[in-house]
Symmetry: C2
């Protein structure tokens, strides 16, 4: 019951400089007329309208000191979403009822939802009409294996429909995605260089790290500019066949960003949401052919071959429904890939493979060639039995490296990745054979050292599973940009020395 | 990774006067050393320690203007929970991992949890270690019919164990509870007076309204003092056999208050949580014999006899497991009870029944006698076939009214309920027969008029279902304490005239 526009009171918007990340927060004085007359209570949801925008914000009530009479304070997120560059006036209302919450509740109670119901939920989510607790209930209701295949298809379609969609001339438009959980697995720059050199179109957009020590966009940012607008991206792709851009500037599948944020806070796994998340972004990015890298291992995201099989079944079914050509590469995910973990350290590995340096990490090279071959094969332009040889030839001839340099030049110039000022070598006191390297703990260690915010920070692994070591050998080197962060990481390592385990000979 | 106490930086606590209801919020300057060195991000959870208390708060980052260097701001809820009457210093840490979140996730994935797992979840919930999104996921995972009977028993036990527990000398200790959803159904004061007059011990604690226009505590507050401490309650009960106090001052089943808050925000129904909520409060209040009033009707909380049967099955099973004697009275919930809806208006109905006034609402009198008879019967002190006659005799003789006056005197004196200054009669323009009175819409209308915060506000129904009306008859009167609120309520009524529907003769 807003009471309509009759009693509408205009308040002067004040930017309070309060950072609440994504959460729009409205601050009102306890004695403000509108709070009393509308019966707004602290932490209730309030519709905040300017002349052109409307958002839902959480209300916090403040004493008279913080605001003058007639003012309404806004958090940074609220200020941004209302587009209030120069300030302005606000009108407050009770939010309209959110009809799709009935579908959210039906899903919580165990119902199977149809396409229009998912659409309605996702539209409201993107419009910011869901409170975090409501998002959490929806995410929980879709978690584990609670979505049927039909529901995953509906959810994916709804997520595509709720955002922008890129179009590229011609077909196929190649893409790849790694299901993740494997630190250092930075194959994308190599795959794009090979595919583009083979004449394929691969306008790759990548994300920054969310919970990992580096995303492809973080790594590429140590080498070139990745914050390309859509026009710049088109120019690069037109000239070089491929790009390596940050995907965040386009609003592709914005529902995904919102749901992922809540999923992470809850640390819930959801097969259905994973598939919808990945494929909705691909369809929205205009891709037609997608290779999925699915590493399997006890400390990777996908922990068993049985899980990989079930997940692949969902991926294939949804891709088919959406008209995407898909190839899934189920690979070894038992330990990190390459030497470096962290943006710049991974960039060094990528450069070493592209440049064909003798000490380039063999496992990263092998995986990149395998996935590049998958892309060539899926494109239909290369005979299946020739794909690996073609990818290898493009890399070994130096053509991939040249293409990569041209792509970076087109994006704004290639530079060398930075070096960390503080380094610490972790030695082994015993001899033996390296037994396991824990993906999750290695990632945690790299993050405590400062990655991905500190580009040069992270971990450099000196050993692989199965490798024999002598007392006094270096197992790994921690890189940090400040002594404090180095100490944090080492403290964690002292509490969790099983990042790397050895077995006696 | 808190980094332990070594680098601990003490910050000066500042009370910012920000009301966030139950949500503890911490405000830090963006340039504060501890935010940077610990890597705290906006909206992350931070452990805030004083020398004696520890809470988990949500972090908001502010610009330098709001706080001086070395200061940390706190919301009212955080300030209260830390017991910082005169200020003090704070140390901030990353929160310790919450182990029970693994059980919460297992429940989300569909596992059946055992007793120790529910205990661990509920302990963490009460200790404030769950973020709202995590509470929401847990509530969603337990919603609908997702809890087995064994799980409801475990949850109830865990909720009892996580709070204080009252003890009363002797047995039986009588109690009653209404499942709710029926405006005006204010039988408790009458039932307590009759039971106490019959020599039973009935130390009744009631809640204030959460989403309804009045709780029993709100109504009783218009007649006497209800905010009794435990000692005062004991004195009243010792003298008069019963009391009518607000239950909020004791910390009985505090987990329930937290879970209910999230359940309401989500508007989720959960049979299991309803049963656990009601019975945990009863066991914690020291009750041994409980009568449950379960009105059934299309706009009541329990909508069908089938639903009432299933819910009763759960109630009986859990009561048996907890050693509670239980009687469930499934009654008519098709329309509001009595005339008044709102604290003072319902108090008038209660007084009219107790005083035996000729115009006292017959339906309220009938229900109260029915429930009082249930209490007498369940106590084992009255032969089942005599219970209704005994209850009626106590009421009609005026002994219940005398007992009620003595209870109110013992609680601090009886007063007359207030009258609203603004009233509006709603007439019917047509003649016919009253068809339906919608419980939910009537409640909404009473709340828009100002109930329960405005004690005298609410609705006075002049008709019942089945009653014949002539053009120009009054259907109901809206009571409000301000013209603005009267207008809000009438606006709602104009949009929803079907609060009361008529059918042609």
């Amino acid at each position: 019951m807003s009471g309509g526009g009759n009693h509408a009171i205009r308040l002067h918007a004040v930017r309070l400089g309060v950072d609440t990340r994504h959460e729009p927060v409205l601050f009102l004085r306890r004695d403000s007329e509108v709070a009393r007359s509308e019966g707004f209570e602290a932490m209730s949801q309030v519709r905040v309208d300017t002349d052109s925008q409307s958002i839902i914000a959480t209300l916090m009530i403040v004493e008279a000191g913080l605001l003058s009479a007639g003012q309404a304070g806004l958090s940074e997120a609220a200020w941004r979403r209302l587009g209030l560059a120069d300030g302005g006036t606000l009108i407050l209302h009770h939010p309209l009822p959110v009809e799709s919450l009935a579908y959210m509740r039906a899903k919580v109670y165990g119902a199977e939802l149809g396409g229009s119901e998912f659409e309605s939920i996702i539209d409201d989510v993107v419009a910011g009409r869901y409170m975090d607790v409501q998002l959490a209930a929806f995410v929980a209701a879709c978690s584990g294996e609670r979505l049927t295949r039909e529901e995953i298809v509906h959810l994916t379609r709804a997520m595509v429909g709720a955002g922008e969609r890129l179009g590229w001339p011609g077909s196929p438009i190649m893409d790849k995605h790694s299901v993740g959980g494997l630190p250092g697995n930075r194959t994308t720059p190599i795959v794009v260089a090979i595919a583009a050199e083979e004449g394929l179109v691969m306008p790759k957009t990548s994300s920054r790290a969310i919970t990992s020590p580096a995303g492809t966009a973080d790594t590429m940012e140590t080498l070139t500019r990745v914050n390309l607008g859509l026009d710049a991206m088109r120019r690069v792709v037109e000239r070089e066949g491929g790009c390596l851009a940050w995907g965040g500037s386009a609003s592709l599948s914005p529902a995904d960003d919102i749901l992922i944020r809540v999923e992470r806070a809850l640390d819930l796994d959801s097969e259905g949401q994973l598939v919808a998340s990945v494929l909705s972004k691909k369809v929205a990015a205009g891709s037609t052919h997608v290779v999925i890298d699915m590493p399997v291992g006890p400390t990777a995201k996908v922990r068993s071959l049985a899980a990989a099989e079930r997940l692949s079944g969902h991926f294939n079914a949804v891709a088919e429904a959406l008209g995407l050509a898909l190839h899934i590469d189920v690979g070894d995910g038992s330990q990190p890939v390459g030497r470096g973990i962290g943006p710049a350290l991974e960039a060094r590995d990528v450069l070493a493979v592209l440049r064909g340096e003798p000490h380039a990490p063999a496992d990263l090279r092998r995986r990149a060639l395998q996935l590049a071959a998958g892309v060539l094969r899926l494109s239909g332009r290369v005979r299946p039995q020739d794909a690996v040889a073609r990818a290898t030839a493009v890399l070994d001839s130096g053509r991939a490296w040249q293409r990569f340099q041209r792509i970076c030049e087109a994006q704004g110039g290639l530079r060398e990745p930075p070096q960390a000022a503080y380094r610490y070598d972790v030695f082994t006191e015993e001899g033996g054979v390296v037994d396991t390297i824990d993906n999750r703990k290695a990632a945690r260690l790299a993050k405590l050292a400062g990655a991905p915010a500190d580009k040069a920070a992270g971990l450099e692994l000196a050993v692989r599973s199965g490798q024999r070591v002598q007392p006094g050998d270096v197992l790994m080197t921690v890189h940090a940009e400040s002594p404090g962060e180095l100490e944090y990481a080492l403290e964690y390592f002292r509490a969790h020395p099983d990042v790397i385990t050895l077995s006696a000979d």
